[in-house]
Amino acid sequence: MMETQAHASDTLSPEERAADSTAVFGFWAYLMTDLVLFASLFAVFAVLRGPAFGGSSMGNIFNLPYVLIETIALLTSSFTCGLALLAARADKVQAAILLLSTTFVLGAAFVGMEVSEFTRLVAQGYGPSHSGFLSAYFTLVGTHGLHVAVGLLWLLSLTIAILKRGFSRGNMRKLALFSLFWHFLDIVWIFIFTIVYLMGAL
């Protein structure tokens, strides 16, 4: 049976250590596949972003200050996620739970703001079926948003598991993987912010 109360990394057997290192490596490999997925969507966006078909250009349909707030929310959530991992390694349950909850709230705020921006664009007549450019925009940004939403679901179940079982070896491993995932989404967002919004506003 796997001991659930063991948490400090120095109590791990060589077999467990190897399994954890394999999991982290495998997760990196998965992240690379996700990276290729986003790279393809960026390429599609770059091909279709030309003068928006029969409509206005990007600069005047997006609200840059609004997107900046979104960006700050997501980047801060990445910071709190990193702090949560540190707290977990120091075995501070309360601090870790608090930081993970903050991460969740900020992530949820990001998704909420994105959904409301999408709703506004659709209401103004700039829906995804309006033009190739908008199809590419909604799909690229929406795929990122979907990843964040799935991440939130993961974070929620992880937090519940930590409340139930504390920092078991399984939970520690999942927390480390989640944090990789969350930082990865952050990096993708920085590219979206730069290429879609900032370059679009030029």
């Binding site: 495998g26 490999a29 393809s40 799935v150 679901l153 079982r165």
Partner: protein, 661 residues
């Protein structure tokens, strides 16, 4: 939207088959499924199937399930091929053959999609699952549960694409569904959606397998197995899986975008609305060309295992073999444009991709020469695996030369879209990929079943496949040079093509007979299993899989091996220094139904997405996510095997060996 659409989406009675041949296919499929279900029920095997196979996380069992599904799909794709040949042999002048033009288009689209995704990929993942963990001296893959999920996603994709036999129709847009033909405007039925979701779900399984086997090979090699001691089949698997990881996400995106175009009215690849249909062709081949090498690399690996063993020599040029794998991996990402030289890129762009395509033939040539050098002055045993190799080496080289001809853009302007091209890629995929996996199956069969794969029927199968192949595809080269385009459902009698098409038809029948011989081979092997029982090392093998019992125990190795040499098992047999390994306790994964359950939900999701049954889409997605999360938090997924159990089991295995050897 009325309640009927809400519940059933686009499903109605009118989606059932519309003509006798389509009905024949549907009834045949349903009858086969019912027969299997009845057989399993009456033989009382459900519990055994569920416990020992469906929920198993043992890669050896998962591998056998992959190969079984691939075999069934080979029948489906093969029947499609026979129909295509029959149509082209008879539909000339006043006669219009056996199927309508629309049905003919469905058949060739289904043939290509199923053969690539569910036959070639299935055989490949089957062999990889069987062999790689044993070759690298480990008890399991890196993520055993993910492996089971991959298999069931592959199965769900195959099941979904075959639903089109009974409900609705198949895509008529060819195996790669170029827009604008595949857009809603020109393909308004669900055919293209079946194609999208069948491939998407199967492709997701492949992607996860890619991640899994990269982690397995990088992280789980036995102690002492440095990179330059890695067996060749494992090397080619690593190359192939690296391509999977970098290429399959592009397919995922492309399929998703096409579906969004068709379903949400988006404009990625539409002719109007700011879409760009040439982008689709670029994207699909940015995946599609690496895909060709994904399939062929492990087949190269099979030959690199077989040729040294049956030539009683070590492989010539190991280092150059490894380098050529990675040269192919890199180059295969910069040749994709040769699939559409005629689309109108600049001359410089075409020239670059033409040169790269010619260059990629070099590492392949290195491999061919190394195999021949290995045979040179070797003591060759002409067993069935070796026959498949010799068939391969002759045909594949000829087909490869035809490929270099087409790599020249000016020549391609003449040859593109002709039967010459069809003949070329069938030479590469049938004599390369398929012969390779047949060789591998024959070679490793005794390891996993404990008795040999019948040689007599194997030889018959080989000669029928070989002559059938030459008769079926030789004429297509000639017809292509005479200007016959691919995908013809009818042609004029004055062209004088019918005799060549008739020869091609005879070739297809011979291949079908060859396949029947393989079925007979399986039956004969099972009937003679006691007479043909073998020990752990029937071929005088060189790599670690031959060091364990046949069939291997679930845990593969009683004690994990320590590797000192490149052909470790050969070195072990030919030195006197033997270490007695100490057995230790270790963990093995428990069986789990979660992979099957998730894939069932994903199937429901895909079916809903094809037929626009939105409640089913939501239900399938939620079910899959909840099951996956529940599985992630199951911390009781392993059991312990103790050293004393191992010692006991191994003593039993030794006793059996002693009797048979």
């Amino acid at each position: 939207m009325n309640w009927q659409e809400l519940i059933f989406g686009k499903l109605s009675w009118s989606v059932l088959p519309q003509n006798p041949i389509a009905w024949g296919g549907a009834i045949y499929m349903v009858a086969c499924i019912l027969a299997v279900l009845a057989f399993v029920t009456f033989s009382g095997s459900w519990r055994w199937l569920w416990k020992e196979w469906f929920t198993s996380l043992d890669p050896k069992k998962i591998g056998i399930m992959y190969i079984t599904v691939a075999g069934i799909m080979l029948v489906r794709g093969g029947v499609d091929a026979l129909l295509l040949r029959a149509q082209q042999a008879t539909s000339v002048g006043d006669s219009f053959g056996i199927v309508s033009a629309n049905h003919f288009q469905q058949i060739f689209s289904a043939h290509g999609s199923i053969m690539i995704f569910f036959v070639a990929m299935g055989l490949m993942f089957g062999l990889i699952n069987l062999v790689v963990p044993l070759q690298i001296g480990t008890r399991d893959v890196a993520f055993p549960f993910l492996n089971s999920l991959s298999f069931w996603l592959f199965f769900a994709g195959a099941a979904l694409i075959n639903c089109s036999l009974l409900l609705g129709d198949f895509s008529t847009a060819g195996w790669l569904a170029y827009p604008p033909l595949s857009e809603l405007q020109y393909s308004p039925t669900v055919g293209v959606d079946y194609w999208i979701w069948g491939l998407q779900i199967g492709g997701l399984g492949s992607l996860l397998s890619g991640v899994n086997f990269i982690a397995t090979i990088v992280k789980k090699r036995a102690k002492g197995m440095t990179w330059m001691r890695l067996p060749m089949f494992t090397w080619t698997t690593l190359g192939s899986m690296s391509l999977v990881v970098f290429a399959f996400p592009i397919l995922t995106v492309t399929l998703a975008l096409l579906w969004l175009d068709r379903t949400a009215g988006m404009h990625f690849f539409t002719a109007g609305g700011g879409g760009n249909m040439m982008m689709y062709v670029n994207l699909i081949w940015a995946w599609g060309h690496p895909e060709v090498y994904i399939l062929i690399l492990p087949a190269f690996g099979v030959f690199s295992e077989i040729v040294p063993v049956f030539s009683s020599k070590k492989l010539a040029g190991y280092t150059s073999m490894v380098l050529s794998i990675w040269a192919i991996v890199v180059l295969s990402f910069i040749v994709w444009l040769h699939h559409f030289f005629t689309m109108g890129a600049e001359a410089d762009v075409n020239a670059f991709f033409g040169i790269m395509t010619a260059v990629i033939a070099v590492p392949t040539g290195v491999k061919i020469f190394n195999w021949l050098f290995t045979m040179y002055r070797g003591r060759i045993r002409f067993t069935t695996p070796m026959l498949w190799f010799i068939g391969f080496v002759v045909l594949f080289t000829l087909g490869g030369v035809a490929g270099v001809v087409m790599a020249e853009p000016p020549a391609d302007y003449e040859l593109h879209n002709s039967l010459f091209l069809v003949a070329h890629f069938h030479t590469m995929i049938v004599s390369g990929v398929l012969f390779g996996y047949f060789a591998g199956l024959t070679y490793w069969f005794p390891k996993f079943f404990g008795f040999t794969f019948d040689e007599k029927w194997g030889r018959r199968a080989f000669w029928l496949w070989l002559t059938g192949f030459i008769l079926a595809f030789g004429p297509l080269y000639l017809l292509g040079l005479e200007g016959a385009t691919r995908r013809l459902d009818h042609y004029s009698a004055a062209l004088g093509w019918q005799p060549l098409f008739a020869v091609a038809g005879v070739g297809a029948v011979l291949i079908a007979l060859g396949f029947c011989c393989q079925v007979a081979q399986l039956i004969a092997s099972i009937r003679k299993r006691h007479a043909n029982k073998v020990g752990s090392d029937p071929w005088r093998g060189r790599t670690l899989e031959w060091s364990v019992a046949s069939p291997p125990p679930a845990y593969n190795f009683a004690a994990l091996p320590l590797v000192h040499a490149r052909d470790q098992f050969w070195a072990y047999k030919h030195t006197k220094i033997h270490h007695d390994m100490q057995a230790e306790d270790f963990h093995m994964p428990k069986e789990s139904a979660a992979g099957l359950i998730i894939a069932t939900f994903v199937f429901a999701f895909g079916f809903g997405a094809v037929w626009h049954i939105w409640w089913l889409v939501i239900f399938g997605a939620l079910g899959a996510i909840v099951t996956a999360l529940a599985r992630t938090f199951d911390e009781d997924a392993e059991y312990v095997v103790t050293a004393s159990e191992i010692v006991h089991r191994e003593a039993g295995l030794r006793r059996d060996e002693a009797i048979t050897v």
